[in-house]
């Protein structure tokens, strides 16, 4: 493999990895606070891309207005999903909550098929993002510069909110023990709503970036990115925001490198992500950056 080819793979891996990372941050946030695998995260992500699509094609908004509208509406949609599907189950066994999460995801997909129709739609890409930059023979679409930037920015802002603000402190308290948090005067419901809002805003950001890079909208499009982002979050240590970014980069990079170095294994790519997941779970179940929580007796 020539150096140029390798650099091209590296650049591809970086772009894919930062996209996974961006979606994984939202995933991991919700898990960190609620200990709940939000299976509907991928579908919230899907909804955001359709909001952009309809804002631009139906309501003729300029793209940046459409992006803002999509981010806000998706955040509100996330709060709605939490209210309807998760709130009443907060003290139920884990299996019930997980089944509810799977059920919610299934319902959103089926509704999307009825409302949006099954035929693919083309994401309206702003002209600016359609350009490609060439460095030597390595080609980098403009979007590939933005995605890592947005991922890092999201990471920094989120770390700030969680660690330095009052809301963040309340979030951390809720994640430790929400009964105790409630006794300390924290409004647990509000904090959880805020968490879902932020998680869904991140899903929307990821959705928009995804749409710019892969402008193919279908109602089931959230499934695979959702799973991959979840795997990324587990690799990094689920619940850990920095871990999600590390996990996302690692997963994207290793998927690309698998094909780069073992060209005959392309058909196994989706299985490979799961293989990484299982290996990580076996070696270090708490993930690369996760804390080791002993089982409470």
């Amino acid at each position: 493999m020539s150096l140029n080819t390798f650099m091209q793979h590296l650049s591809n891996g970086l772009a894919l990895g930062s996209l996974y990372a961006l979606i994984a941050i939202g995933y991991t946030m919700v898990y960190g606070i609620l200990r709940l695998i939000n299976f509907a995260h991928g579908d919230i992500f899907m909804v955001s891309t359709y909001i952009v699509f309809y804002s631009v094609t139906l309501f003729l908004m300029p793209w940046w207005v459409a992006f803002v509208v999509a981010i806000l509406l998706t955040g509100a949609f996330g709060i709605l999903v939490e209210r309807l599907a998760y709130r009443s189950l907060r003290n139920s066994p884990k299996i019930s909550v997980m089944i509810s999460a799977i059920g919610a995801s299934y319902l959103i997909q089926n509704l999307a098929i009825v409302i949006f129709g099954g035929r693919p739609k083309a994401f309206p890409i702003p002209e600016f993002f359609n350009k490609v930059v060439y460095i030597n023979t390595i080609s980098i679409p403009v979007a590939n510069f933005f995605i890592p930037g947005i991922t890092i920015a999201a990471l920094v802002i989120l770390l700030y909110i969680v660690n330095k603000t009052k809301t963040g402190m309340a979030m951390r308290a809720v994640s430790r023990d929400y009964e105790a948090a409630r006794l300390m005067g924290i409004n647990v419901d509000t904090i959880i709503s805020i968490t879902f809002f932020m998680g869904s805003v991140l899903a929307a950001l990821g959705g928009i970036m995804w749409g710019i890079k892969y402008p193919n909208l279908i109602p089931l499009m959230g499934l695979m990115p959702g799973l991959k982002a979840f795997i990324a979050a587990v690799i990094g240590g689920i619940g850990n925001i920095k871990g999600a970014v590390v996990g996302g980069f690692l997963l994207g990079m290793s998927e690309i490198m698998l094909i780069a170095f073992l060209p005959s294994m392309t058909g196994y790519r989706d299985a490979f992500a799961f293989v990484i997941l299982i290996v990580i779970l076996l070696i270090k179940p708490s993930g690369l950056l996760g804390e080791n929580l002993a089982e409470k007796v």
Partner: protein, 348 residues
Amino acid sequence: MKKENKIRIGLIILVISILTILNFTLGNYQLRILNLAGIYVVLGLSLNLINGFAGLFSLGHAGFMAIGAYTSALLTMSAAQKQSNFFVKPIVPWLANVELPFLPAMLIGGIVAAILGALIAAPILRLRDDYLAIATLGFSEIIRVIFTNTMSLTNGALGLKGLTRYTNVQYSWGIAIITIIFMFSLRRSSYGKAFMAIREDEVAAESMGIALFKHKLLAFTIGSFFAGIGGALLAHLMGTIDPLMFRFLMTFNVLLIVVLGGIGSITGTVISAVVVTFSMEALRFLDGTINLGFMVIESVPGMRMVLFSILLMLVVLFYQNGLMGRDEITIESMRRFYRKNIKKGAKS
């Protein structure tokens, strides 16, 4: 013989005779649904064993079904059928001329699924709850991707066609009844009690001297065996299989049955398997144009699935324990019910 046992045997004979009558009177469509219901009973009970008895949240059922389905299909297909199926890449020579009757092929399918289940479970069983769920989901996806890629073994995406459709009511419900009896006796045995102790509290169970790993592995292996059998039955009901049949959606269907019936309840699972299979078909009218007499609702394809997902959410949110919770309909419980409600009603 104890009176209870007499009633039990009587009940089984009654069920078998009802099924025999149905076998001759029902049309093909109802028969197919009846067969499917029997298969879903087997699948539901096997997942119920893993999820409900032992409390291991597994999402890998479709993978084990795929193994059972493919193993049995490749064993029952004639050499000529295999040759015409594998037109892209020839089948591996050691499988080309094997041809077995259905029953042994199905059992081998179950055994292979059980062996793979045990191999997969051994390393991941120490994971808990949602981690285990995701790891098993991962394995079932890995199995599907492998089956898609190994063209000379499974024919890849082209699938297998032309399997003799052996599955009839005798097979599907015969095996369903055997599974029901097996599950009841397993639960009454010391193994079953150990499973449930683990489900309630692992640490307490371990300190009582229950070998955690051995029992979890056992539950998982038996569950995989029956999943494999269910897959084999399904393959020979359909007459054709391909890897896409065994997506996560398949696991979801089975999980739905277990949840609706009540996780941990055998009779609940059986009832819900039958009800879900039939109502999926019953709700078909929702996809068409509905004429209510006073108004006509234009057909919206997909309404059936939307309604079905809403029904599921309602049950999960408001009837968290499903139909039966962990209770059972047994002869004893019916007697109690009769004494409590009906006799009292008669007196007053």
